[in-house]
Symmetry: C2
Subunit: 202 residues, 2 copies
């Protein structure tokens, strides 16, 4: 299983208009592109992927989960992912996961809650996962092996100091995908390619 956590610092926690994802919805377009990059193959879905969105643009913060193995109704376009996020936000979010559409669930919670949960056997995610995050001064991903990785990526604002501190409370590793600073969804494509190559041994 490969998990991606994407932090949306401005992403709203209430239903929003599909016609203004970057503005009124708080750069929800970024999260939608990350869902695409994490889950889509050509004419197929990556079934071994979970994408967690951390929506920080409202109170309380909310978490949304997209599970590749169970996902339905997702098309590659931003609006399609946004529509499933919106449907999740229409649910009355609890302290536990509630499924809104097949493969999409929502709960109240923040990054610390999520990382703590991923350390428990809940959702069969196992224990002791290493949290991997991207920074330009990190170790190059080329040739690296990732086992059951949990990647944390920020939106256009990157990760805040507070978020880095929360990550530091877990076993972690800092990696870099290349010489230039890239959008989160582009980083996800590069991470997948490295893991695809390792799995196929090319």
């Amino acid at each position: 299983m490969k998990s991606f956590i994407i932090i949306g610092h401005k992403a709203v926690t209430a239903p929003f208009s599909l016609n203004d994802l970057p503005g009124a919805a708080g750069r929800m377009d970024i999260l939608c592109r990350c869902i695409n990059a994490a889950l889509f193959l050509s004419h197929d879905l990556r079934r071994d992927v979970r994408v967690y969105l951390v929506l920080k643009g409202g109170s309380p913060e909310k978490l949304i989960l997209f599970e590749g193995s169970r996902l339905r109704y997702l098309s590659p376009d931003e609006r399609s992912a946004a529509s499933l996020i919106k449907k999740a936000l229409e649910k009355n979010a609890q302290e536990f996961w509630t499924e809104s559409t097949p493969g999409v669930s929502i709960r109240k919670g923040d990054l610390a809650d999520l990382l703590a949960e991923l350390k428990t056997p809940y959702l069969n995610t196992g224990t002791g996962k290493k949290i991997i995050y991207l920074r330009e001064d990190g170790m190059d991903i080329r040739g690296k092996k990732f086992e059951e990785p949990v990647f944390v990526l920020g939106d256009h604002e990157g990760l805040t100091e507070d978020e880095e501190k929360i990550i530091m409370e877990h076993e972690n590793e800092i990696v870099s995908v290349g010489p230039l600073s890239l959008h989160a969804d582009h980083c996800i494509v590069l991470l997948h390619n490295e893991m695809d190559r390792a799995e196929k041994r090319i």
Copy 2:
């Protein structure tokens, strides 16, 4: 200069609704994501990139050019790229390029016209460019050097036999980005990363 040609087999050649890019606009969402992947860095644009779209979903076929060095008003979301394409399609396209917004131009023409044009000194693109296209049986891109490359990518339908034949009339090379079949925009991210690494020698 790095050029990307994206073929939209169903992409409409008349103005379209921004609210249904995958359906009524003929998978225009794919072309929009390719524009994003080809042109965006984190908080910057790739100035040394040109993206050519081949719109085949109407008659006559039309070509649209996005030039990184001159581009304005483009945001990373699909709807933003779609809006600039729509504005271009509102122009009365001629046999020569007409600029619709800064850095975006349109003309009548098809893939053969475009490849012929790229062989001439027009647009300072030089002569004798090698056309590079992606296929799963191509040579791995890792470690390859690309000089003034012209990449050709298909949308969800890949390249047709006729399109491959047109490319075969030019000096060409077939490459592969990895072991799995990916969306065109994801391939562009991987091509850029390889070129970024070569330029920075990492």
